[in-house]
């Protein structure tokens, strides 16, 4: 009785946590409440449910804490998405392992128990291997472009079909070996599922896998007949699904389109064009352009964060403001590697929240903007997304900086953006390119503006 009450407390905490995390004001409390609920649940489970192996469990928990906390503390803000992917993956793996262990413990499994076990093992495995692949992509340990294996689709279908077949066999034969094979099929399915997803869409895959892990946990709740696992897992599964849809909407794409590869045919099309001319400028040119403008919009992208140039950007902006230039930041919903990622990165550099503007704040007045300064962004200002139905990112809302009076494009090289798509804006006569490391260039710009 008391145990169920404690689990109820924990479940309520989780609901309040998700609610809190949805509002900027209470987000941090929300997270604390969630952590508190987790503590209640874990202590309850330990005190009430542990018959033996208590010490070993404590050691395993201590090891987990020793790995998890330093990892979460030391990760750079730019690398947060792949860290979340890893944490999600290990959660999925844990769910699969729990179901496997319980399967070998139970003597006379019923139909629903078997169904729940099969689902937990399968979804947990998919979530684990899929998350590992997203990690490798975001960490750029492998190519960020969609990977299309020869017969990749057939392989994925084969893995899917054998998963279903193995699941059915496990349910009829109750054979442990087959359950292991199912786990392996799930691992293969997870890899094949994420490989074709293009770099810019990987965060959406992470969000979806997050929802998957939630469902695996919910299914494991049926395996263990534990209401808390069902409630918490379902909450994450449901909210994760909604969140995935919201993210896809922010990119102007449907989920099916993202997952099953519109990137397929067109990703190569941009290559093989003849060299075209671009206009490269010097730091001094750009400083004059900025220093005598009335109205500047800075569009930062992931390149800014990678170069650790947030602080340099903020200093340049304050300097411009002292000169009476009105400056705002245009933050694309998917700037960075995850929706909202850029807001986190700029907040870290003490950029005031009021200066961060969204698409709908910037675009209507874009024609009166004197200079649009694009720093380390690319895809989010690519006019192809608006004008070229053949472009792989067509339909994604962008900042219409090509309609500003002039554009300064700070780039490290002519390399295309994360999505691997060429950007017409680079060849626009209004565009001045400033090549170099973003931090370096911004620091030089700051000095040049000061000297004006």
């Amino acid at each position: 009785m008391i145990v169920q009450l404690m689990y109820l407390v924990a479940a309520l905490c989780f609901i309040l946590a998700l609610k809190g995390l949805s509002s900027p004001k209470y987000a941090r409390y929300g997270n604390f409440i969630g952590a508190f609920g987790m503590l209640v649940a874990v202590v309850t489970a330990y005190v009430h449910g542990v018959v033996h192996n208590g010490l070993l469990i404590l050691i395993a928990v201590a090891l987990g804490v020793a790995v998890g906390i330093p990892a979460a503390r030391s990760v750079k803000m730019t690398a947060i998405p792949q860290m979340v992917a890893l944490f999600n993956g290990v959660g999925g793996a844990a769910a699969a392992l729990v179901a496997l262990a319980e399967f070998f413990a139970v003597r006379d499994p019923g139909f629903l128990f078997l169904l729940a076990t099969v689902l937990t093992v399968l979804i947990g495995s998919v979530s684990f291997s899929g998350s590992v692949v997203t990690f490798l992509k975001l960490q750029e340990l492998m190519t960020t472009r969609p990977v299309l294996l020869p017969a990749g689709q057939q392989l994925a279908i084969a893995a899917g079909v054998s998963s279903v077949a193995l699941g059915a066999l496990v349910m009829t034969t109750e054979n442990g070996l087959l359950l292991w094979l199912l786990a392996i099929a799930g691992l293969a399915l997870g890899v094949l599922f994420v490989l074709p997803v293009g770099g810019a869409d990987v965060p959406i895959a992470i969000s979806l896998l997050n929802a998957f892990t939630g469902l695996a946990v919910a299914a494991s709740g049926y395996v263990l007949a534990n209401t808390l696992l069902i409630v918490a897992g379902t909450l994450v599964g449901a909210s994760g699904t909604i969140l995935t849809r919201l993210m896809a909407q922010a990119m102007g794409r449907s989920l099916a389109n993202i997952l099953f590869g519109a990137f397929k045919a067109t990703a190569v099309a941009a290559q093989g064009e003849e060299q075209r001319t671009v206009k490269a400028g010097t730091v001094e040119d750009v400083a004059i352009l900025l220093g005598y403008a009335n109205n500047v919009v800075v569009v930062p992208g992931y390149g800014l964060a990678v170069a650790q140039a947030q602080h340099a950007a903020r200093e340049l902006v304050s300097q411009l403001e002292q000169r009476g230039v009105s400056v705002s930041y245009g933050i694309h919903p998917v700037a960075g590697r995850m929706p909202g990622h850029m807001n986190v990165l700029l907040a870290e550099a003490d950029v005031p929240y009021e200066q961060l503007k969204e698409l709908d704040d910037i675009n209507p007045g874009i024609t009166s903007v004197d200079v649009a300064l694009v720093v380390g962004a690319n895809d989010v200002v690519n006019p192809g997304a608006r004008d070229e139905p053949s472009s792989p990112i067509y339909g994604m809302p962008i900042f219409d900086v090509d309609r500003a009076k002039s554009v300064v494009f700070m780039k490290r090289s002519m390399r295309p953006g994360f999505a691997g798509v060429d950007n017409e804006l680079l060849y626009n006569p209004k565009t001045t390119l400033l090549f170099g490391d973003a931090k370096d260039s911004l620091t030089k710009l700051l000095a040049a503006v000061k000297a004006l």
Binding site: F32, Y222, I242
Partner: protein, 88 residues
């Protein structure tokens, strides 16, 4: 069994409801927070290990406890770090 199903269905609706309106700024922290919450599988891992009778169960259980702990503590800490940035 129908009880568990009832709980499941109600939880689906609560899950949909709580995040139906959320600004893009909070997408990343919210995903990360939800990620920490599914670390509740730690409860399952502890229960299973605490009653494990064979070596296989024990090994699987302990591994699950370890991984789930990483999920939980890492998830909450990383979410807090993100949200810390918004404090102003």
């Amino acid at each position: 069994m129908i009880d568990l199903l009832t709980i499941f269905v109600l939880a689906v609706f609560v899950g949909f409801e709580v995040v139906s309106k959320v600004s893009t700024i909070l997408h990343t922290p919210l995903m990360s927070g939800a990620n920490a919450i599914h670390g509740v599988i730690l409860v399952g891992a502890i229960l299973i290990t605490g009653s494990a009778e064979s070596t296989l169960e024990l090994v699987l259980g302990l591994l699950a406890v370890f991984l789930a702990t990483v999920n939980v503590v890492g998830g909450f800490v990383v979410t807090d770090r993100m949200l810390e940035m918004f404090r102003k």
